[in-house]
Symmetry: C2
Subunit: 345 residues, 2 copies
């Protein structure tokens, strides 16, 4: 089959990889329909994080082609959303909301396991991992929003849940990438009354507003802190969502949060937490890779009912052969998030 | 009046300080009955944290001698417990559980504001700060437990609340100082089913058991981690309470906590959080100085009803003139926590 291959920093090619086959009775083979490039893929692309040579991409929706003998939750022909982590959903870690640490789980597209940026994927633990999509003939806009549930929207939602966003909350989102924009949408869904988005890019500001942001701040660092304090009577926001992962973004998220409140952090950490400041202001911290599999069913209902449209973060499209260009568009910030059309339903 | 005076590292003397007088209509003057030495006072004593020359001590109970014109919640003659922070309990920070950041609040015994280790204290914001004790003629054991609510027991309770200890939880407490022991007691009060205490001192182990610890581990660092994982089926505890503040203790607390769970941290931070490990295991973090004023009323009912006896952490006693010896006993680890009898009720 054809698939994107990570050769090293700044080198993504599309080449041949072995056709996936059922290896275990809990496997399924999924033909990929839509895939996309994650902000975390960019860390690898830029050489900031290590990645094995080989398969890449962990976000996809597709159609089940075959299932192993023990898989009953999905069947051939089902349209499915794959969370970016496969997991058993029955171990103490999964039951505790940490699918990333499932002892028998793993991530797609890590070099060895098939990636979403390819024609097909062998999905281990398919019965507990894949979420079938009810109905048929979904329009393209809905398919794009279903693809967003695979990672980016679930991750934004995890930021908001981790930050304990509640009905009536005044919140802030640090980061206007696709995850940050998804966090804006998620905060609104959780009832936030005022959503302050830190963004200095006109198109992202526009999408943030469409997703529910009530205030847009172009300031960064100390100036952003002053502005948020000014907007919140000097006390800071009830919850903040850190969707970048750099030291500056983490520091800003803590600085703009009200004493006694919580920061939800989903930015892949490339900076530390200013612990003394956190401690002496009683700021809580919830963080980590999203347990997407837990969030997808409820978010899928919202997508199918038209209440949320997270697929709007995709503003660049290509086909599988164009995958290198999908990375370049995000790397050069020409795109918020790149989608790859791999096949038709 | 006579009061302990911090002159610099390893120099505590008892000398003369001005008698406190009402300076504001929201003040009260409290004659100190019992006071004690905090683990955080030891950081100053040892020169590990800075402290102004002057008053010291922030834990005390006493009898109100006079109140300003606007104080109605307490009156002369009342026996009161003072939380270690005075605060207005009505600002957004106090209402959000962070009394330490009350804009008009502060800490006792910071060099300038009267300390608990003295004959009397001017208490600012007395109406919202002091908690009157109902009843009369309380035995000495009860008075000691009421003193413990001023800081150490409230801090242990904050560790347990911040770590989200629940009915049936399996928990661990890192640190067998007075705060760690109080956290054991607090975890039991919150319904923990199994309480693992890390301790290698026989008397502290004994008190931990009396306070409800079900398992005592003498291991530290990597060995402690292995042992806790062995006791918890390889997954770690549902909640852990970090009651030391050193880098090693913080690292241990995170390492023994189940992925997806929460560490409650009340140890004064002298080390950072291992953020990457925290992130990739979805571990939450609640921390900071306890909002003792919020916890005292409920804990006081437990003390008066005989359900908890946190005053048992005091295993060294002296009078006000003996305050330097109270510090030395804790510094040399001859005492878990030193109490100072300043006056009779």
């Amino acid at each position: 089959m054809r698939a994107a291959i990570f050769n090293g920093p700044r080198s993504i090619t599309v080449g041949e990889r072995p056709d996936p086959v059922i290896q275990s009775p809990t496997d399924a083979i999924v033909r990929v329909v839509l895939a996309c490039v994650c902000g975390s893929d960019l860390w690898y692309y830029r050489g900031d994080s290590r990645h094995e040579v080989g398969s890449i991409g962990h976000e996809f929706i597709g159609v089940v082609e075959a299932v192993g003998g023990e898989v009953t939750a999905v069947k051939a022909g089902d349209l499915v959303v794959a969370p970016f982590i496969f997991s058993d959903m029955s171990c103490p870690n999964c039951l505790n909301g940490s699918t990333i640490t499932c002892p028998v789980g793993g991530s797609f597209g890590n070099g060895l396991i098939d990636g979403g940026q390819g024609e097909a994927v062998r999905v281990p633990l398919a019965g507990s991992t894949l979420v079938p999509v009810p109905g048929e003939g979904h329009p393209d806009e809905v398919l794009k929003s279903l693809l967003a549930l695979s990672d980016v929207m679930s991750t934004g939602y995890h930021a908001a849940v981790s930050a304990r966003v509640r009905e009536g909350s005044v919140v802030a989102v640090v980061g206007d990438g696709a995850v940050g924009l998804s966090a804006v949408l998620a905060a609104g869904r959780l009832g936030a009354e005022r959503i302050i988005a830190l963004s200095r890019h006109p198109e992202r500001q526009r999408l943030a507003r469409d997703f529910g942001a009530t205030d847009i701040l172009e300031e960064r660092g100390e100036a952003a802190k002053e502005k948020v304090l000014e907007l919140t009577g000097g006390f800071g926001v009830d919850s903040s969502m850190e969707c970048v992962g750099t030291a500056e973004a983490i520091a800003t998220a803590f600085a703009i949060t009200k004493a006694g409140s919580t920061v939800g952090g989903v930015g892949l950490p490339h900076g530390g937490v200013p612990y003394e400041e956190v401690f002496f202001r009683n700021i809580g911290w919830g963080c980590g890779p999203a347990p997407a599999r837990i969030y997808i069913p409820a978010l899928m209902r919202d997508v199918l009912d038209g209440r949320i449209n997270p697929g709007r973060v995709f503003d660049f499209e290509t086909d599988l052969e164009g995958t290198p260009g999908a990375y370049a568009a995000m790397d050069e910030r020409r795109a918020i998030k790149s989608m790859i059309r791999v096949s038709s339903i």
